[in-house]
Amino acid sequence: MSHGAAHSAGPDEGVVALHPKAPTIRLVIIGLLILGLIFAPWFAYPVFVMKLMCFALFASAFNLLLGYTGLLSFGHAAFFGGAAYFTAHSAKVWGFTPELALLTGMAGAALIGLVIGMIALRRTGIYFTMITLALSQMFFFFCLQSPFTHGEDGIQSVPRGHLFGVIDLAPTMNMYYFVFAVVMLGLLVIWRFVNSPFGMILKSIRENENRAISLGYSVISYKLGAFVMSAALAGLAGGLKSLVFQSATLTDVSWQMSGEVVLMTLLGGIATLTGPFFGAGIVVTLQNYLATSSFPVTILTGLVFMVCVLIFRRGLIGEFYASKLGQKLGYRTET
């Protein structure tokens, strides 16, 4: 994110020797994480893990933008919550099957992303951030007033339906593996996106925009592409969440939600693939845990934010990547 870092990096920064089996070890770590999720319902509460996965996908989608194009959006709730409404509405009112409903939500989010992106991308840095915040706030008021969202009540009792008209998603386990599959697919898309020729151009734009232009890249189109992609995937996460909880409400479009996703990403580690997962895990656990304690959630959330910014700027996974062990395993940190 910080371009300043480029200059301070000295020529012979302490380079740690790569562990000879680093790539294999990295694969094993990822594999273990996936296995953990497959068997999670046996030792953790499935709805909780589903929620965590939805937010992890949301945070990863957000990270796609922040981590790999350096754009901090403070309006991602619009895509997440917007898609939740679209998915819920199409499943409940139009009777769409879950996969179609999700696609509807995604398409809607992508469309909002296109509109917001076209306006906001005219500026960069902090200006961009403020504009996304304001535009998503407009969308919030739209949702508040629009009849199809049912205002304060929200859309409730959304049917999970039958996947492809066949598999009933009402049983928790069916839903769990559906969510698992979709989230994995989403993450795979993000991973591929980041590690693709397109992602390479994004990275270079983040590093030096003018140079990228002079090489003939239409910077705005690439940024917009990433923005829409991020919006669509955030939408996928939101839609999925509305199916898991069978409701879509205003909280998902509020600006506090936009703040939460920033927190998750920051906490986990910007520009790391697995970071958002851990960030989402911590935030979701905290919220659930604190709900039954007498300590106010907002205060703790705020404190975590402050401490994170002041001390663990790289986030959990980011710090690990930057540690000796992480470097040995061949993880690269961007910030």
Partner: protein, 379 residues
């Protein structure tokens, strides 16, 4: 007998968000009072009350509710402030076959189209507020109205229902202005209301919106100039919040007032000792809900949901909150509600003595009948 060695009641509501003062932590206190007053035990097993803050987020509420049911042996969830949470948790509980008694949310949907055989609604709803304010106030002479309506579903339904009663009682609605949620400055709307010449300015909004609107009405001398302000959803806690100076003369509806009779005063006093505040209808309603639930378990001789729900439907409700309450098949508990007027600063002699009761609206009028509710039992 009780299934798993205890009867557990969960109080799930907003304890840190915008509705924290509505019921908030004090609802938990009220629930514990009820459990203690009942004797702490039912069917020989202890009664436990747990609580959680859903932070006004439906998904957090849903996950807590599921977790309570699935892993913590909670038998019933109550309070459930805010419509979205109330509806979400009731729907989920219907699937999980668990009882919910909502005392915090206003929407009639809970016992209407989205009703549930295990879902109950205590304390108040938009219909009761609307009849209370709309109907009773017109009879008092406030026959021309102008609404300040929060621009979302809750506001519309309050305005719509109130207008209906105003019209039915021979009054007239002169106009309304829809203000966005969370507006801070109402002077412009108030000026429009003033210009309309209506006798009553109805506030079809909630929370901070109503508080600010009322304060500013006092500032612009609306009440002083002879117009009445009627707040459609406002409770004792909030009157206390803005102070009598600004709230004087305000009309509102609650289904409970601590200074109603000796019994309620005694309850109020005990509640005050525990919380430092007098109870409003949500607190008293939650107390009543817990008590009724425990009575139903005792009567059923089991804490099994179907049986308890059946008893809850059958048994009359009679306690400090509801003296002649009964539960309709759709889960709506009906009881008297009261039209209040807020006293002038000079008239109030004891602390928290804020209301004069101007009219009592019988439960049958205040709440929708089963037929009119839109709840189909198969639903």
């Amino acid at each position: 007998e009780a299934s798993n060695g205890s009867v557990k009641i969960g109080i799930l509501n907003d304890q840190s968000g915008v509705y924290a003062d509505f019921g908030g932590k004090f609802s938990y206190e009220a629930a514990r009072m009820a459990a203690e007053d009942f004797g702490g035990k039912v069917l020989g097993v202890p009664v436990e009350v747990v609580t959680a803050d859903h932070q006004n987020k439906a998904d957090i509420a849903s996950s807590i509710a599921r977790k309570w049911y699935d892993t913590e042996g909670v038998d019933a969830i109550m309070e459930l402030t805010s419509s979205s949470v109330g509806l979400a948790v009731q729907a989920l509980s219907k699937e999980a076959k668990k009882i919910t008694i909502n005392t915090g949310a206003a929407t009639t949907e809970l016992t209407g189209a989205q009703c549930s055989p295990y879902g109950f609604h205590w304390a108040y709803d938009t219909h009761a507020l609307a009849t209370g304010v709309g109907g009773a106030l017109v009879q008092e002479g406030g026959d021309s109205w102008y609404f300040l309506t929060a621009d979302y579903a809750f506001g519309y339904s309050l305005e719509e229902q109130t207008s209906k009663f105003v019209n039915e009682n021979g009054g007239k609605v002169l106009g309304s202005v829809r203000h966005p949620l969370a507006t801070t400055d109402y002077s412009s709307f108030l000026l429009q209301a003033q210009a309309s010449g209506a006798k009553v300015v109805g506030m079809a909004n909630a929370g901070m919106d109503t508080q600010n609107a009322i304060k500013q009405a006092a500032e612009f001398g609306i009440t002083a100039a002879g117009q009445k302000i009627a707040a459609l959803l406002f409770t004792l806690a909030e009157v206390n919040g803005i102070g009598l100076e600004a709230a004087q003369g305000l009309n509102l509806v609650e289904s409970f007032y601590w200074n109603r009779d000796d019994e309620s005063r005694e309850f109020g006093k005990r509640f005050f000792e525990r919380t430092g505040a007098m109870p409003n209808m949500i607190h008293a309603g939650t107390y009543s809900a817990v008590l009724s639930y425990l009575k139903a378990i005792e009567a059923a001789g089991t804490d099994e949901t179907e049986a308890v729900a059946k008893k809850l439907h059958e048994l009359p409700v009679s306690d400090v909150f509801a003296r002649n309450g009964k539960v309709l098949p759709n889960g709506r508990m009906i009881t008297d509600v009261y039209l209040m007027e807020v006293k002038k600063p000079g008239e109030s002699d004891t602390p928290w003595d804020y209301y004069t009761v101007k009219a009592t609206i019988p439960g049958e009028t205040a709440f929708l009948s089963m037929e009119a509710s839109g709840c189909t039992p198969a639903n």
